[in-house]
C-alpha cells in the first residue's frame, strides 16, 4: 500500500508540473478509510470516481480484499470528515481507519511468500535434475553425468534451503532454548542432516543424495506456514474493519463554547460532549444538561429505554433517543458495571489461554516419536555393524519419510478453506483456534435480547387496530426515535399504509407525543399522558393513542424473535445439541421467548457473574458450551465459554471476546459455522489418518533401509498432495450439521 501511495504521489506532482512551473507543492496527506459495503468491481470504480472528483483529492486507490481505500489529499482543501461525507452521498458507509492494518503481520506474510517463491524455484529445478538421474539408472547414465547433476543440485538446493527454511530453524531454536520440543525440531533436524549428508555423499560420488527431498519438504512446509499466516492476517483485518466502523466521533464543547469534532478514542475525562438524538453516547459519563431517554439494550439487555435526567450516569455504547444532551466524560473505572464486567472478563479469559490446538496436541506425541524412530534406526544399524555412514543415511530417510505434512500443511489448508467459506457468508472467524473449539461444543447457550430476539420491540396487536388509527398513530410516531414509535411506524409500513409526517409534533421524554390538529389534540404515549389511566385498564397496554371523538387504542409490544430463531433452535436440537437460554431480563418475557423459540431450559434475571457460574457448572458436568450473546453483560460469559459467537450488532467488548462474529438478521449462520467447524475437524482427523497409514507402510521400509532417495521424495510429495487435496474438498462440500462429538 505504501508503495502504491508513493507512486501516486509522484503522479500527482507530475500533473502539477505540467500545468504551472514550478508550483509550491502542498504537502499531501495520506488517509485510509474503511468502506463497509464495497462488494464488487462496480463499487470499487464508483468509490474511486467519487473521491477523485471531490476537490483536493490527489489520488484514491481501493483495496477490495481489505475493503479499504487509500487516499492522498490536500489538507488545505479537504479533510477526512468531508471525504467520508462524499462517500456517504455516493451510498457507501465509510469510517476512518486509525489503526494501520498490522504492518508486521502483512510483512511476515510477504516474507514467507518470498521464501516460498525461492523454495519453489529451487525445488522445481532440483527435481528436474533428480528425475534425470533416476531415469539415468534405467538407461545407462554416465557416472560423471550423475555426479555433475548432483553437484548442480547441491549448488541450487543449499543456498535455497539456507534462506527458505529459516522460519523453521528459528522456531526450532527458540523451542530448544526453552527446553521444549515442537514440530519444527524434527523438521529442522531432518532438513539439515539430509542436506549435510547429501553434500558429503556428493563429494564421494555416491548415489544416496537427498537434496530433492530436503528442498521439496521445505517447499511444502512453507506452503502450510504461509496459509496459516494468511488466515491470521485476514481474520485480523476483518476484525479491525469491524471495530473501525463502530469507532465513533464526538462533538466536544470547548471551555470557550466552540464545538469541535474529535475521534472517540481521543476523548478524555472532564471533556463535555454533545450527543445528538439518535447517536450513541461515546463515553461513560454524567448527564450535564437535558432530559432524555436512553436505550441500554447493549449494556443490560433491556429493550425499553431508561429515563435519564441531569446528574445521572450514562454508559458508553448506549443510544440517546429523545433529545440532544451534553455529557461530561468520567473515567471509565468510576462506573461499577463496566469495571465489574472488565474484572469478570479478565478472570474468564485466563481459562481460554490453556487451550492447546489439535495440531499442537498431535505434535506433542509426533515429535518425540519421530526422534525415537530416527535414533532407533541409527543405533540399530550401528549395532548390526553397518557403519556410521550407512546408519546415518537410513536415519535421515526415516526423518524425511515421517515429515509431518498432515500437521503442518493439511491443518492450515483446512483452516483456510473453512474460514474463506465462512467469510463468504458474512461470518468472520477471529480467533485462530476458534474453529477447533467450536467443533468441540455440545451445548449452545443463547442470550435473549439482541441474540435470540432482534433487540427491539415489535407491535403484536396490529391486527386489532383499525387501519386509519394505525396510520394516524404512525404519522405521529414518525417524529420520535423511541423504540415503540419505530415499532408502530414499521407495523404501519408492513400493512402498506401511508405514513405522512405530521407537522408540529412535540415530544415529552418519558411521556409521549402530542400534535395539535384542527379537531383538537392527538396524543400518543403512556396511559397517564393520554388520559386513559383509570378509565380503561392501562396495564393492558403500555402505549395508547387518543384522538378527539374516538375510542383510545392500546398498543402492545414484544421483543420479536429473529425470523429463523425457532428453526435454528430446532435444527440444533435435532442434531443433538442441548440448547439453553440465559437472560438478564424478567422471568415472564424470558419464558415467552423460550417457549416461542422452542427452548426448554431457560433462566431469567441472570447477572453477568451468574452467567459465568452457570457456564462453569455446565463445564463441570462435562459439557463444552458455545455461548452466543451480544450485550456488554454477556461479554464475560462469551470469554468464559468453551467457544463463543456474537452478532455484528453486539457491543464492541462482546465482539472482541467472541471467537467469531456473524452478520445479518438471521440466526442460520450459527448452524453454518457449527457445520463447517465440525467438517474442518473431521477433515483434520482424516488427514491424520492418511498420514498415519502412509507412515505405517513407509517407516518400516525406511528403517529397514529400503528407501532410496527416489522413493523418499516421491512418497513425501504424494502424501503432502493427498492431504492437501483432501483438505480443499471443504471449499465446496455440501455440509449438514452433524451430531456433536462425544467428549473425550
Amino acid at each position: 500500500m505504501a508503495e502504491a501511495l508513493r507512486a501516486h504521489r509522484g503522479l500527482a506532482s507530475g500533473r502539477e508540473r505540467s500545468v504551472t512551473d514550478p508550483p509550491p507543492k502542498p504537502a499531501a496527506q495520506a488517509l485510509t478509510l474503511i468502506v463497509e459495503n464495497m462488494r464488487c468491481g462496480a463499487c470499487m470504480a464508483a468509490i474511486e470516481r467519487a473521491l477523485t472528483r471531490a476537490g483536493g483529492v490527489a489520488n484514491a486507490r481501493v483495496n477490495l480484499s481489505a475493503k479499504r481505500v487509500a487516499i492522498c489529499y490536500d489538507p488545505e482543501k479537504t479533510g477526512p470528515q468531508e471525504l467520508i461525507g462524499v462517500l456517504d452521498r455516493a451510498g457507501f458507509r465509510a469510517a476512518e481507519a486509525f489503526d494501520r492494518p498490522d504492518e508486521s503481520e502483512t510483512r511476515r506474510a510477504d516474507d514467507l511468500l518470498r521464501r516460498l517463491g525461492i523454495a519453489g524455484f529451487a525445488a522445481a529445478n532440483v527435481m528436474l535434475l533428480s528425475v534425470s538421474v533416476w531415469a539415468g539408472v534405467a538407461s545407462d547414465m554416465d557416472r560423471s553425468a550423475a555426479d555433475l547433476f548432483h553437484w548442480v543440485s547441491a549448488l541450487i538446493a543449499m543456498p535455497a534451503i539456507a534462506y527458505a527454511a529459516q522460519p523453521f530453524f528459528r522456531s526450532a531454536a527458540s523451542a530448544l532454548k526453552s527446553r521444549r520440543l515442537n514440530m519444527d525440531v524434527p523438521i529442522s533436524l531432518g532438513i539439515t542432516l539430509a542436506t549435510a549428508m547429501s553434500l558429503f555423499q556428493t563429494m564421494r560420488g555416491s548415489e544416496q543424495v537427498y537434496f530433492d527431498a530436503a528442498i521439496t519438504l521445505t517447499f511444502f512446509l512453507l506452503i502450510g506456514r504461509f496459509l496459516d499466516e494468511q488466515v491470521r492476517v485476514r481474520a485480523r483485518g476483518a476484525a479491525e474493519n469491524l471495530m473501525g466502523l463502530k469507532a465513533l466521533s464526538a462533538i466536544v464543547i470547548e471551555p470557550d463554547g466552540t464545538a469541535r469534532r474529535v475521534a472517540a478514542r481521543a476523548l478524555a475525562p472532564g471533556m463535555r460532549i454533545q450527543v445528538a438524538t439518535g447517536e450513541r453516547i461515546p463515553v461513560d459519563g454524567r448527564l450535564l444538561d437535558g432530559e432524555t431517554e436512553i436505550e441500554e439494550s447493549l449494556i443490560t439487555g433491556e429493550t425499553l429505554p431508561r429515563h435519564a435526567k441531569a446528574g445521572d450516569t450514562v454508559h458508553a455504547g448506549t443510544l440517546n433517543l429523545t433529545r440532544p444532551i451534553v455529557v461530561e466524560a468520567t473515567a471509565a473505572d468510576e462506573s461499577t458495571l463496566v469495571a465489574e464486567i472488565a474484572r469478570l472478563m479478565q478472570a474468564a479469559e485466563q481459562g481460554r489461554g490453556r487451550y492447546i490446538r489439535l495440531a499442537d496436541r498431535a505434535a506433542r506425541i509426533y515429535a518425540p516419536a519421530v526422534h525415537v524412530l530416527g535414533a532407533a534406526t541409527f543405533i540399530g544399524w550401528m549395532v548390526s555393524g553397518a557403519g556410521w555412514e550407512q546408519a546415518l543415511t537410513y536415519a535421515i530417510a526415516v526423518l524425511i519419510i515421517t515429515c509431518p505434512c498432515a500437521l503442518a500443511l493439511a491443518v492450515p489448508a483446512v483452516q483456510v478453506a473453512a474460514t474463506s467459506r465462512l467469510f463468504a457468508k458474512g461470518i468472520i472467524v477471529k480467533a485462530a483456534d476458534g474453529l477447533e473449539r467450536l467443533a468441540e461444543t455440545d451445548t449452545v447457550v443463547f442470550d435473549k435480547t439482541g441474540t435470540l430476539t432482534r433487540g427491539e420491540p415489535c407491535l403484536i396487536n396490529a391486527g386489532a387496530i383499525g387501519e386509519e388509527t394505525l396510520s394516524r398513530a404512525a404519522s405521529l410516531a414518525l417524529a420520535s426515535r423511541h423504540p415503540y414509535s419505530r415499532a408502530i411506524v414499521n407495523a404501519a409500513r408492513d400493512r402498506r399504509l401511508s405514513v405522512a409526517p405530521q407537522a408540529s409534533v412535540m415530544e415529552t421524554p418519558g411521556s409521549g407525543l402530542l400534535a395539535k390538529t384542527a379537531d383538537g389534540e392527538e396524543r400518543l404515549g403512556s396511559g397517564l399522558w393520554t388520559g386513559v389511566a383509570g378509565s380503561a385498564c392501562p396495564a393492558e397496554a403500555p402505549l395508547w393513542y387518543c384522538r378527539p371523538g374516538h375510542k383510545p387504542a392500546g398498543f402492545r409490544f414484544e421483543d420479536a424473535l429473529r425470523s429463523d430463531a425457532r428453526e435454528t433452535v430446532a435444527a440444533l436440537r435435532a442434531a443433538g445439541y442441548d440448547v439453553e437460554l440465559l437472560s438478564g431480563d424478567r422471568a415472564e418475557t424470558v419464558e415467552a421467548a423460550a417457549r416461542a423459540a422452542g427452548i426448554a431450559g431457560w433462566r431469567a434475571g441472570v447477572r453477568p457473574e451468574a452467567k459465568i457460574a452457570r457456564l462453569q457448572d455446565l463445564e463441570s458436568h462435562g459439557r463444552r458450551v458455545l455461548m452466543i450473546g451480544d450485550g456488554l453483560n454477556d461479554a464475560p460469559a462469551l470469554a468464559a465459554g468453551h467457544a463463543s459467537l456474537s452478532p455484528s450488532t453486539a457491543a464492541d467488548v462482546s465482539q472482541n471476546a467472541a471467537d467469531a462474529v456473524f452478520q445479518g438478521e438471521a440466526l442460520a449462520p450459527v448452524l453454518e459455522i457449527l457445520a463447517v467447524a465440525g467438517a474442518a475437524r473431521r477433515m483434520a482427523l482424516q488427514n491424520f489418518a492418511i498420514a498415519l497409514a502412509y507412515n505405517a507402510v513407509s517407516v518400516p521400509l525406511a528403517m529397514a533401509g529400503h528407501v532410496t532417495p527416489l522413493i523418499a521424495a516421491l512418497a513425501m510429495s504424494a502424501s503432502s498432495i493427498a492431504v492437501t487435496a483432501n483438505a480443499l474438498r471443504l471449499r465446496s462440500a455440501r455440509l449438514t450439521l452433524s451430531a456433536p462429538e462425544p467428549n473425550r
Binding site: 500500500m1 507530475g14 464488487c40 470504480a45 480484499s65 518470498r114 524455484f121 529445478n125
Partner: protein, 59 residues
C-alpha cells in the same frame, strides 16, 4: 554431454526469470488486492482520460 553444457544453464536461466518476475510482482504489491485486481481488468475507465494521459508521460 555437450548438450548439457547449455541445456542446464538455460533451464536455470528460465527458472530464474520466472522467480525474478514473481519477486518483482510481490515487491510492487500485486498480491495485496487479489480480488480487486481481477475487477480492475474489466473496468471501463471512461472518465480516467486525464489520468491515462498522465501515465504516458515520463514521471
Amino acid at each position: 554431454m555437450t548438450a548439457l553444457a547449455w541445456l542446464i544453464p538455460s533451464a536455470l536461466a528460465l527458472g530464474l526469470l520466472g522467480l525474478a518476475a514473481f519477486l518483482w510482482a510481490l515487491k510492487s504489491g500485486q498480491f495485496e488486492d487479489l480480488d480487486g485486481a481481477g475487477w480492475r481488468a474489466i473496468q471501463d475507465d471512461e472518465d480516467d482520460g486525464d489520468l491515462r494521459a498522465d501515465r504516458r508521460k515520463p514521471l
